[in-house]
């Protein structure tokens, strides 16, 4: 992008703009004379609101009385007319194009080497809707949208404190994506903010199209199975994280916010936990822990027990499994890998296909293929049951689903090759990896290890809100 300053001669400046833009069709240049000065109003088609630009810019600007020069004209506009609340000055072509492409209208005039920009954004965007991924029964039904400023307003609406700071900046050499760093300045340690800013300074991407582009910059570079930063599409969840002293990063064009740092136990917490009575919340939470372990380990335990440790089964169950497995033509490991792979293909097809077709394909293929596989004897019923339970368990903790999916396969192979011994060895490696996951000094496994008794009150159990309000928890308590 051209960094050159604006040219004072209007014709030359417009030629330069044409040159830089390559004559792009969506760049609109409206030349007109107002106050006796030759001017041009530049904007990007589809990015501005026609009605707003007509009412707030064109109508007042064409009524300007005669001015002695361009400086007088700009002075008059700045002092006498309130065309827009958002009015940055433009001194170079880089800024000019960034603003035009963000929905600003830029006014340039003969004889001045700067322009005036007016925020008249009017591009079409998705409205605030219910989040698609983070289901909630008792909480708010609003999710983030693709527009960063709408998302900022959603957070501000929930946290009206002046301590909430939102720093807007752009990244991406080509995309100039708006990013917003949100934090509570009385809760977040300055050192953490500095580290995050330093990490973001390393971003030299050409475009930022999703949160995944930025997460590697704010995460540890060593191999980590689990993510030490989280994402959420719920403003209420994000607000609770901000109050706990975390930092959020909003990305324009993405309806998700990155939360830094993230803890393992948070994947099992939902806003609903705080809407129900503590005893029910504790029950649900432990159900999720159990579901997670079942999702990762159930098929591999089945494989290991049937192949190497049948003494763990009682005689009735043992005979039942023998009866079921003796008809299956494949080995148990192959069979379980086949079933899981089949499920993953169906799931992926369901996700990628258009919504009305995707759901139907998932159900029909699941039913037909599953039924046919069992009836033909290709797959045993107990194995299919175990796999289905494991898959369902994984859906209980959607945030960990990618990790669960891969680990499930690896554990099946370990269990098939070495039985419970193999599963134990792999568990050790995974456990060490999880414990090694740490960002900016916040261990992913806190408050379990390093153990923090206070933290267990909202991890092992969920204590009452009255007790929580006096706790004043911030994530800094886990810093090592």
């Amino acid at each position: 992008m051209e960094k050159g300053r604006l040219l004072p001669v209007l014709d030359s400046s417009i030629d330069e703009i044409y040159r830089i833009s390559g004559g792009s069709s969506d760049l609109l240049i409206n030349r007109f004379v107002t106050g006796g000065i030759h001017c041009a109003l530049l904007c990007c088609e589809g990015m501005v609101s026609t009605s707003v630009i007509t009412e707030l810019i064109f109508e007042p600007i064409t009524d300007i009385p005669q001015q002695k020069d361009s400086h007088g004209l700009f002075h008059y506009i700045n002092e006498q007319l309130l065309l827009s609340t958002d009015r940055p000055a433009v001194r170079d072509y880089d800024t000019m194009f960034r603003l035009i492409n963000s929905g600003f209208a830029v006014l340039i005039a003969e004889g001045v080497s700067f322009g005036l920009a007016f925020g008249v954004q009017g591009y079409s965007s998705r409205g605030v809707q219910e989040p698609s991924g983070e289901g909630n029964v008792m909480g708010a039904h609003e999710g983030f949208t693709e527009t960063v400023r709408v998302n900022m307003s959603q957070i501000r609406r929930r946290l009206k404190s002046p301590e909430l700071v939102m720093e807007l900046f752009t990244k991406g050499q080509k995309s100039h994506t708006d990013l917003c760093l949100c934090y509570m300045k009385d809760r977040v340690p300055k050192s953490l903010m500095e580290k995050i800013r330093r990490s973001l300074d390393d971003v030299e991407l050409e475009a930022i199209l999703t949160t995944g582009y930025l997460r590697p910059f704010v995460e540890n570079s060593s191999f980590e199975i689990f993510d030490s930063t989280g994402t959420t599409e719920r403003p209420d969840v994000l607000c609770s994280k901000l109050i706990e002293g975390r930092v959020a990063l909003l990305v324009d064009g993405v309806p998700y916010a990155i939360v830094i740092p993230r803890l393992f136990c948070e994947s099992f917490q939902t806003l609903d936990d705080y809407a129900y009575k503590p005893y029910y919340a504790v029950f649900i939470r432990w159900l999720k822990y159990a579901a997670f372990f079942a999702a990762v380990l159930l098929p591999s335990f089945y494989v290991a027990i049937v192949m190497y440790h049948p003494e763990l089964l009682n005689s009735t169950l043992f005979m039942l499994l023998v009866e079921a497995e003796k008809k299956a033509p494949l080995s148990i490991v192959t069979e379980s890998l086949f079933v899981l792979l089949m499920y993953e293909i169906i799931r992926e097809a369901g996700v990628r296909l258009p919504k009305p077709v995707g759901g139907a394909v998932s159900i029909i293929s699941g039913l037909i293929i599953g039924d046919a596989a069992v009836n033909s004897g290709l797959v045993s019923t107990p194995l299919l049951t175990m796999t289905a339970l494991s898959v369902l368990g994984g859906l209980v903790v959607p945030e960990l689903n990618p990790q669960i999916t891969v680990l499930r396969f690896v554990f099946i192979i370990a269990g098939g090759a070495l039985g419970l011994f193999g599963i134990s060895l792999l568990s050790c490696a995974v456990l060490v990896n999880i414990c090694a996951t740490e960002d900016y000094g916040f261990p992913y496994t806190a408050p379990l290890s390093p153990f923090r008794r206070k933290g267990m009150r909202d991890t092992a159990v969920r204590m009452g809100i009255k007790k929580m309000q006096s706790r004043g928890f911030t994530v800094e308590e886990y810093h090592e």
Binding site: S222, H309, L420, G422, L425, V432
Partner: protein, 327 residues
């Protein structure tokens, strides 16, 4: 500086000692319990002297602790090979020496990965592993309590108390690591030492008493009393839970070996600062070499002497300076 909490150090060392206890062979009696408790008390005293004196290890002392770590690592692998037949590791059964080497190789691989992450993650993982292990052991041994014959606890001893004290002292594979890693412990070292030795005494007592109650009457024909006790502790009539013990056994084996490998790697870093890469790999290779040299022997006298030396050399071979860096 990489720092760990006293709980984390205690968990790492406790796992090592528990693994040693799992692999203990030969007769057990209540004298064994006294021996373990006496050995633990003596070690605690020596450790408190070391904690009071403090200081940094001299290069010569570091060389000793490196040798000790290799020896202890070797005993871990050797004990694993000796016991693996009794706990049934699928890859090992029927595959002879290749099966044993494969088992050791797999554990070595996990150790190598663990040590590559540093002491902090392993220490954090050790707390979870120790908690889970003690929970599973609890299930195993609570079910044993109902079928236990408590009069077995008083079965007369066939060996002298001195022998049992020697055996109790030898059951401390983590003393070198205790000395080396104590510099990385947050807070007072003495607190960490008391924590560890108290936990060791408590868990060992429960374990030994339960083992005596369960296997006391068949002790003469029992090769590995703890393993046998776990196999006899069945909470259900129609199904067995031996494999639960296999899980604990494998997890504890990994952390025991990883502790020695990390200690060795830290000491190599201190002795040969220019040796940057492959430190853990070198330690693992040397450890398996030591295991092949030991090959199934218990070497109680050597282990007890080395454990005593490890705690005596610590205060004697310490320089008055800053605490040991954990790397």
């Amino acid at each position: 500086m990489n720092s760990i909490s006293k709980c984390q150090l205690a968990a790492l060392l406790l796992i090592t000692d528990m693994f040693g206890l799992f692999c203990i062979s030969g007769n057990m009696s209540v004298e064994t319990l006294y021996g373990v408790l006496a050995g633990t008390a003596l070690q605690l005293l020596a450790a408190l002297v070391f904690a009071a004196k403090g200081g940094e290890l001299s290069k010569l002392a570091a060389v000793f602790y490196l040798m000790y770590a290799l020896f202890c690592g070797g005993t871990v692998f050797s004990a694993l090979w000796r016991t693996s037949g009794a706990v049934y590791i699928p890859s090992e059964s029927g595959n002879g020496i290749w099966g044993q080497l494969m088992t050791a190789g797999l554990i070595a691989l996990v150790c190598l990965y663990s040590s590559s992450t540093g002491i902090k993650p392993v220490a954090r993982a050790a707390v979870i592993a120790a908690a889970a292990g003690i929970f599973c052991l609890g299930i195993d041994f609570i079910s044993a309590v109902f079928n236990a014959e408590w009069s077995n606890v008083t079965v007369p001893e066939k060996r002298s108390l001195a022998y049992e004290v020697l055996r109790g002292t030898a059951l401390s594979g983590g003393l070198g690591s205790l000395v080396v890693l104590s510099g990385a412990v947050k807070g007072e070292r003495s607190g960490a030492f008391v924590w560890y030795f108290a936990a060791k005494a408590a868990v060992s007592s429960v374990l030994i008493l339960t083992v005596l109650a369960v296997t006391g009457s068949i002790m003469d024909i029992t090769e590995f009393p703890v393993v046998t006790a776990a196999q006899l502790s069945q909470p259900f009539d129609a199904q067995r839970i031996d494999s639960l013990f296999l899980v604990i056994f494998a997890v504890f084996a990994v952390f025991s070996a990883a502790l020695q490998v990390m200690t060795g790697a830290l000491l190599i870093k201190r002795i040969f600062p220019e040796f940057v890469r492959w430190r853990s790999t070198a330690v693992i290779v040397l450890t398996i070499g030591a295991a092949l040299l030991i090959w199934g022997r218990e070497l109680l006298l050597v282990r007890a002497s080395a454990a005593a030396a490890a705690l005596l050399i610590a205060p004697l071979g310490a320089k008055k300076s800053a605490a040991v860096s954990s790397g």
